[in-house]
Amino acid sequence: MTGAPTTSDRPAGAGAPDAPVPAGPTGTGRLARILVYVAGRLATAALSLAAVVAAGFFLFRILPGDPVRAMTEGREVSAGQREELRRQFGLDRSLGEQFLDYASGLVRLDLGTSFQYREPVAELILDRLGPTLLLAGTGTVVAAALGLFLGARAGWRPGGRGDRVSTAVALFFWSVPTFWLGLLLIVVLASGRGFVPDLFPTGGMVDPDATGPWETGLSTARHMVLPVTTMVAVIYAQYLMIMRSSLMDEKGADYLTTARAKGLRDALVRRRHAVPNALLPTVTLVFLNLGQVVSGVILVETVFSWPGLGQLFYSGLRVPDLGLVQGLFVVFAASVILMNLLADLVYPLLDPRVRP
């Protein structure tokens, strides 16, 4: 469900895109071009969002199973009780009416009401947004830092021992199932079965009896270690590979020869000249990866009982709680669209070659 349409017309991380050589700076003409470019991106993003809203609504409507039956399953309910629930969820009205209702709500930023929680979806999402941003944000930053650093090392001496080991390790973790890795970490580091008993908590975000900002903060930090480690282990490989390949592309460039000719140390040539240029394609990747972070975070949050959006989505799918899942779907998709938009808008600032 993360295969949301993207607005990027550029393949992610495929090296610096070929772009028309920018015309000379001629004042107003240039400004107009920029405005057209920005307006174009905005329009595409808006269109994508509309498509996502419609697709989300109808996709979840063809899920098998009846939410009312699922919610009352195994309980002693009469036909009247079921009818009342159906009426409350709005399921007694036609699909068209339901969609119009939903769409008009979205315009007013009303994401609807969750069937199982009986609360506005927007409130539920706001409540869970913080934990997810904390987890996914930390995970992404650490993974990017680690991946880019190791990737730069590996790409500078491709085929060397360091490169082979580092790449192999990264690809190993990349292919390990997230769920399995998480459970393994719990068994070894949290349950008291491994050599280090009881080192980290098995789940949740904070101890229920933690009080005060210090204790809460520390408890949260402890609870974050295993989920963040899991996320980083699984996603850092892609940063490593991109950095590695783009640094390899840069390696033969003339300006590096020049730098070496000036007598600069090899490490300095890499850090000061090659890496900054190789970083460019990875910028887009960081933005575009958000979609992937979302799907990864659902699994990580489920294993570690992290009270975030991923866990909320999982609990909604089990019913199916249509109000909740379609609201979350829109939010997930909107964030991917937004990140694409940002990538499109920011990239020209970083790389003069693609300026409109």
């Binding site: 899920l63 098998p64 199973g65 009846d66 039956r69 699922a70 919610m71 009352t72 195994g74 309980r75 002693e76 009469s78 036909a79 009247g80 009780q81 009342e84 629930l85 409350q88 009401t113 199982q116 929680y117 009986r118 609360e119 650093f149 459970l183 719990i186 949290a190 349950s191 008291g192 280090v196 008993p197 009881d198 080192l199 908590p201 098995t202 789940g203 949740g204 904070v206 101890d207 229920p208 005060g212 210090w214 204790e215 520390l218 930090a221 402890r222 270690v225 490490a267 300095l268 850090r271 000061r272 900054p276 949050e301 489920t302 294993v303 009982s305 009270p307 909320l312 999982y314 609990s315």
Partner: protein, 628 residues
Amino acid sequence: MSFLPARRPSPRPADGPRPRRAPVGTPARRAAATGGALLLLAGTGPLPAAADDAGPDTMTIAVSQQVDSFNPFTAQLAVTTNILRHVYDSLVTVDPGTNEPAPALAQEWESSDDGLTWTFHLRDDVVFTDDEPLTADDVVWTFTTIMENEPAAIASGNYVAGFESVTAEDDRTVVVELDEPQATMASLDIPIVPRHVWEPILEEEGDAFADYTNEVFPVVGSGPFVLTEHDRGRHITLEANPGHWRGGPELDRVVLRYYSEKDAAVEALRSGEVSFVYELTDAQARSLEGARDIAVNIAEGKRFQAFTVNPGAETQDGEAFGDGHPALSDLTLRQAIVMAIDNDEIVDKAHNGQAVAAGGYIPPRYGDFHWSPEGPEEILAFDPEAANAMLDEAGYESGEDGVRVSPEGDRLELRLHAHADRPDNVQAALVIVERLADIGIEVENNTVDPGVLSDALHTGEYDLIFTGWTVNPDPDYVFSIHTCGALPVEPGTMQGDAYFCDEEYDDLYEAQLAEYDRAARAEIVHELQQVLYTEAVVNVLAYPNILEAYRTDHVTSLQVQPDPGGNIWGQDGYWAWWSAEPAAADEAAASSGPSSGAVWAVGGGAALLLVVGAVVLVLRRATAGDRE
């Protein structure tokens, strides 16, 4: 929503505090936190209070299901109804030992000779947690609200469906007038709420009452626990109500913590983060057996596992729909199917032995209602040869490929729907496919999501389908779903899980509902089960055991239901948490001790910091290059 006159109840009884103990694992965790704090924050601020040994006696339960609502009029999900049972009392409860009705708010009750008037006599010492007394008026208001207000009927409307009127004769006497006699009157599982709290809410919320979630803490009730906190997706806290009329609980608090993944919850029990886990699989329970300070509770089943046969889906008006195999309307074929399946084999292969082979509809834990076919009644015992002979005689000839063909010329090729999310279903389906092949029936095994299965059932597009119900102490409901009245009014609206309709069954059903003498009613209930068994539409395979585990160094003396051999989670009533005692302090200290975990934790924290520090340094160096 501050209009509630809610008052936080005094957390401790007046006669002084109980000895307190430190929860297990805490020293290690505290030490880790402290170590981390020292390393992280050295010199930047005050440290958290370390190694504080005092802590309330808490039982922590790992739960996975989310809370739908704490509104007792609308709450649906099992976890919520379970919690609310501890927050609000009901008129009558269920005896933990015998599973029979037992006094709660009502000390005694009686019915008139015609069975239409029920009089409940209330206790006079019940107060809500805001110190207001609970009177007959609160009971009457709770019942009439459910009767008159549609949104308020969502949770308990079924109980009051036959109520004509509810009145208070005086402060302590409630009189219920019925349309028709109903034997379920002594098992009304309806939470009694304080009128002075809920009447203003109902008026204020109006049509939106169904969406009112009652998250105003502490929640005012009369039960043995007070709901004091809900951090959605994180935890729920209940505190003891020391003023409860039955006597306050021994525990100070019950905390329900969220573990979305059961395996992780089992590890949390192992590490001492939680005190209790439930709904374990056989493998999980086995892995915990023999673990230190952990007791595994294997309780007799409360639910039955069955498969139903599509005898030809019909609406109440007799309009046929769906595409069930036409030959299944033949009783001989249905009986042969049951005889071909060995329930003991299902117990072994599908439940790893953690179940009891079944015959009757009501599990053995309900002693007097339980029935199992014995002696001459046992006409459908496992006997594939007899099944083959029956089919031969009835004209089901074997085709060239060994699959039989019905006298009408339909090949016996059946579809089976099993829940993909229930491992025991998946395994049982494999056994059934094999056994039915033994009598010349080919089965297409569909292992599907619950939604797909439910859709197939309600559109009548199935032949054999898995089902199962949790049976309450009063079995009325699970029988009601097989009456002709439970057939759909139009396709898709069926109440139960089989398109069963039988006149004799309906007569017996009415008779048991009108029978107030328990022994006589049990007799009729046995006959009902015999009809279901003989008709072979609803075929019960097994009663799966209930597997749970708890930390003996956290809690002891948990009352099981029924006693002995019963379960802890999901009881009818509030026995387990109410009776639980905190484990003795010295025991806990001995088992936790200053473990090497503390040392390791500090070391681990330091190692982690080193790694983070190294990354930061390296990154700094990377940018420093630009400045060189």
